[in-house]
């Protein structure tokens, strides 16, 4: 695991935001690692723990608790589809099925691709996409909503799916 100088600088900056307790920088560091490496490896857990003068379990227990952290690499582009009530009423399940079809990811329908915490769910054969069903993304008035990486899409229609996905190939 190579930590490039830019990442080191970001890590040091993040730690400086918590003058009272370095442990508070655990989540920010996990975010930085996941943004850089795509997921949280065993090595990353040990590295962060050492950096913050903690035991690895203090970091591991966060990775297993917070749903956003993954322990396996996702696709090159990670799609999150909201599945909670307002989006469900607006057709979230159909949206996810269509996305699975468009990306060639197996999808079993009910509950679908959600494999639980920390699992990046199914990745498409070409490695381009992965899809995850997530709980409420806080845009209930414009469902169904989804995110591709950090980009947010509201009131997604079937017709828009190919256009959206083509931007990420």
């Amino acid at each position: 695991m190579q930590i490039p100088p830019e990442l080191t600088a970001q890590i040091d900056e993040a730690i400086s935001h918590y003058p009272v307790s370095k442990r508070s920088a655990s989540l920010p560091l996990l975010h930085l690692f996941q943004e850089h490496f795509g997921y949280i490896s065993e090595e990353a857990i040990v590295w962060i723990a050492e950096k913050l003068e903690l035991q690895p379990i203090h970091i591991l227990e966060l990775v297993t608790f917070y749903p956003m952290f993954r322990r396996k690499p996702p696709g090159k582009n990670h799609i999150r589809v909201c599945k909670t009530l307002s989006c469900a009423l607006a057709g979230a399940e159909e949206l996810k099925t269509k996305l699975c079809a468009a990306t060639g990811i197996a999808c079993d329908g009910h509950g679908g691709c959600h494999n639980g915490h920390g699992d990046p769910v199914s990745v498409s054969a070409d490695g381009q996409f992965s899809i995850e069903s997530v709980e409420c993304l806080a845009s209930c008035g414009s469902g169904p909503v989804m995110m591709v990486n950090d980009d947010f899409y509201e009131a997604v229609t079937d017709a828009e799916i190919p256009t959206i996905l083509s931007q990420y190939k």
Partner: protein, 468 residues
């Protein structure tokens, strides 16, 4: 990514916090904010005594906009005068109650309003280090806020010696990572300390006494902190004239689900009824459909059935309390009447369902949410939320047995009030209310006479399979 369509405010709205949301040409940078009178309220606030600002907030009777509706001034008043420990302020931007979508727009379109509200609040509370806890799923929002903080700092509104007053303040953005429980203030504090977001037991861990790093801490919602800025501008007494007594100010409500025009509206609290909101502002349910159910204040609020009627006490012409019978659509959008009718105004998220919806399916969606989001600390909630989900899962798979509605009611009744935090109520109220108010739909799904065998994972197959 196409920009979302800008909405024109409805004539029945009164926009204060959302004044700049969807305004043509309004941008989130500080230059635009300053052109529109930004940071003038901070300049006024720093000429006031901190205690005077707290008194204005008390006089405004502002109630927290995060869900519980706790009076903000009372919360602030818990900080002891002459406190020697450092005091922290945390902005709760973990917006994650299903049905609620308001903070996102403030953060994306008018971030400086929030930053100014936070600086004023920090000045009033003698805070020198504040955190803005934003949910992990708002990566763009976090960047916008960091940019806004840097701009505010470059303009002397943040950092050392703010506006030459000698007052210092740093604000840092802290991102969550997808856990709903971080919206609970003590869970949020644990998370900010770098731990699992297990809520703390109260007493003794009231944040205002033993909060972040065991120091006095005030946690306020985004919308609440924005209101502080407007309270300083108009004065607490003037603010209290908006809305109705004990339900003051404006609040942002979001309507989602089966209406023609879902969306967000900033309304004077209590100025319109649930029916006016749904029918006039949102265009009613979709053509050819009938209203079936309404969740009035975020997914945790107890559901209303469209034909329900309530007896509430209202003040008559002579000032005496008289009993009045009202329907669901006549309930005014305020905190107190909503509570008197057995639900809550909560976070302002109204979810509407029409007659095409299956209530067992609807409840199952919420049960999945709560089972996923229970932090796992207290047994009744960890086990109960999962069992409620398993039962509704099984009912949907065709394996509902006669005792299921009773079991659901019993499980939910054994969670509420028996947990460290309010998640216990939040996860049990949907089940409690759906089962009680739509008994016929649950009964239709619960016809098999067999008591559920174990293990539960095999129930649906076992019960729906041949030979039973």
């Amino acid at each position: 990514m196409p920009a979302p369509a800008r909405r024109i405010p409805h004539p029945r709205e009164k926009r204060v916090v959302f004044a700049n949301i969807d305004r043509e040409g309004y941008t989130p940078d500080i230059a635009c904010y300053l052109r529109n009178g930004g940071y003038e309220d901070l300049k006024k606030a720093v000429t006031m005594a901190p205690a005077a600002i707290v008194n204005e907030v008390k006089a405004s009777a502002l109630r927290g906009r995060g869900g519980a509706g706790f009076p903000c001034g009372v919360k602030w008043g818990f900080i002891r005068p002459g406190e020697t420990k450092p005091i922290y302020l945390i902005c709760n931007a973990d917006e994650s109650e299903p049905g609620t979508f308001k903070d996102r727009y403030i953060i994306h379109q008018d971030p400086h309003q929030l930053i100014e509200g936070m600086i004023i609040s920090a000045f009033a509370l003698n805070v020198h280090l504040a955190y803005l806890y934003i949910r992990g799923e708002f990566p763009l929002g976090a960047k916008i806020l960091e940019q806004a903080i840097a701009e505010a700092k470059a303009n002397g509104f943040l950092g050392k010696n703010i506006l030459g007053t000698g007052f210092d303040l740093e604000i840092y953005v802290h991102r969550g990572a997808g856990a709903y429980i971080c919206g609970e203030e003590t869970g949020l504090i644990e998370s900010l300390e770098g731990k699992r977001a297990y809520p703390r037991i109260k007493p003794p861990y009231f944040p205002a006494v033993l909060g972040l790093y065991q120091c006095p801490t005030i946690v306020n919602n985004v919308e609440t902190l924005c209101h502080v800025k407007h309270i300083v501008r108009m004065g607490g007494a003037e603010f209290a004239k908006i809305g109705t007594p004990n339900n003051t100010g404006t609040r942002i409500v979001g309507v989602s689900g089966d209406v023609v025009r879902p969306g967000y509206f900033e309304i004077e609290v209590g100025s319109l009824t649930l029916g006016e909101l749904i029918n006039d502002l949102c265009g009613g349910v979709k053509p050819g459909r009938k209203l079936k159910a309404i969740i009035p204040g975020g997914s945790s609020a107890k559901v209303f059935r469209a034909d329900e009627r309530f007896k509430i006490k209202v003040k008559g012409a002579d000032g005496a309390l008289v009993e009045k019978e009202i329907g669901v659509l006549d309930i005014p959008m305020d905190f107190d009447t909503m509570a008197a009718c057995g639900s809550m105004a909560g976070s302002g998220g109204v979810i509407v369902m029409d007659d095409s919806r299956d209530m067992v399916e609807t409840l199952n969606n919420l049960n999945q949410f709560y089972a996923h989001e229970s932090c796992g600390q207290c047994t009744p909630c960890r086990e109960g939320s999962l069992w409620m989900r398993k039962i509704t899962d099984r009912m949907l798979a065709g394996g509902g047995v006669e005792c299921d509605p009773a079991t659901l009611a019993s499980v939910s009744n054994n969670i509420a009030g028996k947990t460290i935090c309010a998640f216990g109520e939040a996860c049990s109220w949907p089940t409690m209310s759906f089962v009680a108010k739509f008994p016929e739909e649950f009964a239709t799904r619960a016809t098999k006479p067999v008591p559920p065998p174990t293990p539960p994972e095999f129930l649906s197959e076992a019960l729906t399979g041949e030979g039973r």
